[in-house]
Symmetry: C2
Subunit: 452 residues, 2 copies
């Protein structure tokens, strides 16, 4: 099988000089990773076991089958960060690009609304859209801790909306930690079914649990194939070592780039369907590695669009970047002959958009390389459930390995706790009176402002 | 009037210590800018004169009035980079968030499709959507040079599609350079009306020309108010000096941050409607300043969503960032009392989403500041046409001033020319045979790959 090809030529010193990876350093880092991985296999991280355990697949299928019999028009998903990015990624990659816009693209599936923000303007718009069909709306509420104020406040709102319609208890599913948390208490009291995150799997590593897979099953996507792709990549990672191991090499390159001051990782898919994947990885890398003053900054660019926005900077700006390109295109869209009186455009006539898209991808790789900006390409034979599952596992593994190399705990996020406490304090949560005073004092400091 | 308030407190050394701006340096930089601006006023950049000249407003209204009489269902805009980002920004900010999804949110206006990519999968999907109503489709083609291969190839495709329907010549408008370029020759031959970019205004500074304003006029938006906002900000910039001048202070801070190694500018709107604005500024800053080894890297984050994705990195990661926050919310969405058996969530009951949204914004500012990550906030009283026009002008002025401070030409983009030539060569454009050979040789180099 040859479904994903990683081309690292242009990340090496041979191609991009001093901005590239030195062969000796790469070998040393790979040896370090091999040792680490051998130890890791004896006591794997929880996310590594998911492709094998197929956690709660039967429960998901049972609930999804019930839903399929219901004539659902709107699927509403309440979740933020790791609770929404996986689903967003899967839907962007595998559903029709204009799924929500026209019924004929949905094949009887519902429209979907992933509420990953509480911007009241957007919230009001979505509520306005859903209300006429509230009795054909299915609600999935996702929060590992059950305490995320964004998700809980949205749930309070939607719970009251849903209660107006008969049989609403059958159209609400909660996904949360197996034992802890407020969602379990709500489920018990209200009679809503629940699904879980397996022990030890954090939000941003949870795409291959019910968090990402149950919404996918509701949408009729093949969660077995998603899981099989991850299993395939897990097997690759066990089978190969050193230079032949995609996860090891990618982790080594990204780590060495970061260490060499190329601390900006540009994720640039030539493939709109992988835009969600870029956002998903952006969370995974930033939240896992951004601690103790360390950690690369991921940023998303879209090919070809951002050739006309960011490429100038990547070519002639500071050498503080490593560009990770993705490419996939299978669709053909012929460019007809037109404007035959214009010699200057005839090089495009009777070609295909796909060829032009590919030429742009190659043109960008070449011009980055000639400018000595290191770049790596991952080329997918297709954007399939299988390949997507493989990519999820690959980048999770890469992130875990980078955590080891940087000596940071890739599985916590202590830096966001303070902001959460401040928010709750400002909203008047009991027990946070001192914090409320503190925020008020800070906000009352003499501000330096300019007014227009 | 108090429509935009910029709060720079948390960018200063008093708030964030050594990571902040020193008062003396700020004063020196502001003096430099004042001198520069005085000279600039004698010979302003072309974009600075736009709010006054109202270039081709009458021509736009005439064409938009004609279109308004036509019962248009689809507005298709072909353009990329500076040719599309302005329109995208205006539409995201001022139209209903679900404009394209439901007819009742459109008030009789057309759906819109901004084709800023040639991903063939997406292209095919959009063509599929439009074809049934091709005789009610209005096409706007935007390319300053008229030679952008992405836009020209799309135009070849759509030109042939449109020709099947009667009266199609009345439903195509081209926007291009006043004299040069292929689009003018096409317009002449085919009888399509044209609008122009004024001399000296480049793509990324063109939002307040027909490039951004004509699509807005077609959508029934108030281009006079957009222009008035820009005029208001232009007047502010002339009237105030030094510490009282929003453009001067913002440019000075961003420049000093860059010089101090905070080379990543995080643009983080707490306002989904300003997501497009973040993308627009991202192009403006990157393409204007990313040259000669210099230039900050802009990256977009969305509040509150990215608190659960990027904030960990901004708080505990390397001190190489300056965060520019935006905030605006006017809509109220009450959170009803629910789950009365759960004491732990009652702090949210009977509050409003807007209050929670605001508390999150404040919580982020405070936690960034306590972590000594410098941040600036721009608070808008509303997301209006007027405020949006003011923001466009403000950030264009800021970028021009930063170009001066960094000693780079903010108005060219030499770094992307090579990639364009490679693309055309690979597509077989005549006269580029040597370049074609060169690319083929490069692509045949022994590649280092790993296959999954």
């Amino acid at each position: 099988m040859k479904t994903i090809t990683m081309d690292l030529t242009n990340a090496l010193a041979e191609a991009v000089g001093a901005n590239g990876i030195d062969a000796g350093e790469l070998a040393t880092t790979l040896a370090n990773i091999s040792d680490y991985y051998a130890r890791l296999l004896a006591k794997p991280f929880a996310f590594m076991t998911l492709p094998e355990t197929k956690f709660q697949f039967d429960e998901m299928w049972t609930l999804a089958d019930k839903a399929a019999a219901m004539d659902i028009k709107n699927l509403v998903i309440l979740g933020i960060g790791g609770s929404s990015l996986g689903t967003q990624t899967i839907f962007e990659a595998l559903l029709h690009p204009l799924h929500n816009m026209e019924e004929r693209f949905r094949n009887g599936k519902p429209r979907y609304f992933i509420l990953d923000n509480i911007d009241p303007h957007k919230m009001a718009a979505i509520v306005e859209t859903i209300i006429p069909d509230i009795d054909r709306t299915f609600l999935v509420v996702i929060s590992k801790s059950g305490e995320t104020p964004e998700t809980i406040s949205q749930f309070m709102l939607f719970n009251e909306l849903m209660r107006r319609s008969p049989g609403y208890q059958q159209r609400i599913v909660l996904i949360t930690d197996r034992e802890k948390g407020l969602l379990n208490r709500i489920a018990e009291k209200e009679g809503y079914p629940t699904l879980n995150l397996p022990d030890g799997v954090g939000g941003r590593f949870s795409v291959l649990t019910p968090v990402g897979l149950f919404p996918s099953a509701l949408m009729g996507l093949d969660i077995k194939r998603l899981s099989a792709g991850a299993a395939g990549m897990a097997a690759h990672t066990v089978r190969y070592d050193g230079e032949e191991n995609m996860a090891f090499v990618l982790a080594a390159i990204l780590y060495l780039m970061d260490r060499a001051g190329k601390k900006i990782h540009v994720v640039m898919p030539y493939c709109e369907r992988l835009g969600g994947f870029a956002d998903w990885f952006r969370q995974l890398e930033a939240e896992s590695l951004g601690k103790k003053g360390l950690g690369p900054t991921p940023t998303k660019s879209m090919g070809v669009t951002d050739q006309h926005s960011q490429l100038q900077l990547y070519v002639e700006g500071p050498k503080d970047k490593c560009v990770i390109l993705f490419y996939s295109a299978t669709q053909e869209v012929p460019i007809p002959a037109s404007f035959d009186y214009l010699e200057d455009v005839q090089y495009l006539a009777n070609k295909d958009m796909k060829s032009l898209f590919h030429a742009e991808f190659q043109g960008t790789r070449l011009s980055l390389t000639e400018a000595q900006t290191p770049n790596i390409s991952l080329i997918l034979d297709e954007v399939s459930d299988y390949n997507l599952g493989a990519l999820f596992y690959l980048f999770e593994m890469v992130t875990a390995i980078m955590g080891h190399l940087l000596s940071v705990n890739a599985f916590d996020q202590p830096g966001v706790e303070q902001g959460k406490i401040y928010t709750k304090a400002m909203m008047g949560k009991k027990g946070l009176e001192k914090e409320k005073e503190h925020t008020e004092a800070l906000l009352l400091r003499r501000a330096k402002t300019i007014v227009f």
